[in-house]
């Protein structure tokens, strides 16, 4: 073997840093025993490593040493006791007993493993369950958010369409005031005289029962013309029936579905074009 080449390969440094595989270690150890020059080189490398460590030493905290010394347990006492027991044992206890001792250890070990495993399984089950709960909760939240988003989006679309109408100069806004002067009911009609389209907007109207609805009327040539019914709680602009040559708009309370002719007693708001 070319010792110089072997040394130059850097394997001794690997040996010292303990990064070799067990087989490689054994191989190095065999060669060390065989070649004194290798042993010498190993020593020199170890010394330089020690030198580096000494040169780069850092003073530990003052109480560390006391902590270590007080944590020492005299292992030897225990070992001695064990060994005396072992010496005595063969005299008194026949061979099979040692086997049963082995068995006992193995049973104990299996039991320990079983216990530890069960505990881990239980623990992981708990963790799994809580994360799966959390996940379901998140999913529900997500769905709810999506729904809310859709609602807001629909509402926004409606508002954008409403604004288009309001800002269209062809639409004339007709305000309808309360017929009973003690009330502050109000609503308006956006009416396009060119296309006959009409939209209703509630500002404030009183709450109706389930059996009642509001009905919008246009007065055309002195005669009331039905423009459709609506609920008291509609938001934004509501499309009503087209109407021509209207001179006035009015809203009455009618049975659900509307009437053929207006119940004038229950007229709530009215306004001239």
């Amino acid at each position: 073997m070319d010792i110089k080449e072997y040394i130059a390969s850097g394997i001794l440094e690997e040996y010292i840093f303990d990064t070799l595989s067990p087989q490689e270690r054994i191989d190095v150890e065999l060669r060390l025993a065989e070649y004194p020059e290798l042993r010498e080189e190993l020593n020199a490398i170890e010394e330089s490593l020690e030198g580096i460590a000494m040169a780069t030493a850092i003073q530990p905290p003052a109480d560390l040493k006391a902590n270590i010394m007080s944590a020492l347990v005299d292992n030897l006492g225990g070992l001695k006791e064990e060994s005396t027991q072992q010496k005595e044992a063969p005299k008194v206890i026949p061979m099979p007993q040692t086997n049963s001792g082995m068995w006992r250890y193995m049973v104990a070990a299996s039991l320990t493993i079983a216990l530890v495993t069960s505990y881990l399984a239980y623990d992981y089950h708990g963790k799994w369950k809580s994360s799966s709960d959390a996940f379901a909760q998140l999913q529900a939240q997500n769905t709810q958010m999506a729904e809310q988003y859709n609602q807001v989006n629909n509402r926004l679309d409606g508002l954008v369409a409403d604004i288009d109408i309001i800002s269209d100069t062809d639409f004339k806004r007709v305000n309808m005031g309360a017929v009973d002067p003690t009330q502050s009911y109000a609503a308006s009609v956006y009416w396009n005289a060119k296309t006959d389209e009409a939209y209703l907007n509630i500002k404030q109207l009183k709450t109706l029962t389930e059996e009642q609805q509001y009905q919008l009327w246009a007065i055309v040539d002195g005669v009331p013309v039905d423009m459709g019914v609506f609920d008291f709680d509609v938001e934004g602009l509501m499309k009503m029936k087209d109407v021509q040559n209207a001179s006035m708009f009015a809203v009455t309370i009618e049975p659900k579905g509307g009437s053929v002719s207006p119940t004038l007693d229950l007229m709530q708001v009215a306004g001239a074009v």
Binding site: S48, E50, I58, Q59, P60, P61, I68, L76
Partner: protein, 171 residues
């Protein structure tokens, strides 16, 4: 000395601590970078030396090498278990080793040389390999794989680095 340790002589361990405690603390501190954690590591190591001294085989190397490897491995396990990302510090390993030295300048080094001075006149490539192996616990093949350096080159660089330092830190 080793015999006294094997006989569980507390004075022997006390002597060992006085002689090598600071060196092992320094080695661990540069890996862990936290004084409290380092103290934990060093305490564990001395207890391990005390409990496992029977496993030490003087035919296989010096006692200090054995202790140093125990310490480095424990320190590296500690930071790896704390999930400190190795990549986070790879870029600036020189920096952080030096930073620690600066931070500890008041208590650094028994004989007055810090890591910086020690390694300053190493060739950059040699220093890199030495720092990786010594302070980060990389194996040779890990360095070769991760930084695309041929394995033989890693080995020879480490060897030259140690050889160079050998003259500098003659005991």
């Amino acid at each position: 000395m080793i015999l006294r340790l094997k006989n569980q002589d507390k004075d022997a361990l006390s002597y060992l601590y006085d002689k090598y405690g600071a060196a092992l603390f320094g080695a661990a501190q540069r890996i862990v970078q936290d004084e409290d954690v380092t103290a934990e590591v060093v305490q564990d190591i001395f207890l391990k030396i005390w409990n496992k001294i029977a496993m030490y085989d003087s035919k296989k190397g010096r006692l200090f090498t054995w202790m140093l490897n125990l310490t480095r491995n424990a320190a590296i396990d500690k930071i790896r278990s704390k999930e400190i990302k190795r990549s986070a510090k790879t870029d600036s390993i020189d920096e952080y080793v030096y930073t620690i030295d600066r931070q500890n300048s008041t208590e650094t080094s028994v004989d007055g040389i810090g890591v910086r001075e020690l390694m300053d006149d190493l060739v950059e490539e040699q220093r890199f390999v030495l720092l990786k192996v010594y302070f980060e616990g990389f194996s040779h093949s890990e360095i070769a794989d991760e930084y695309d350096i041929p394995l033989g080159t890693v080995k020879s660089r480490l060897r030259s680095a140690l050889k160079h330092l050998r003259n500098k830190v003659q005991l």
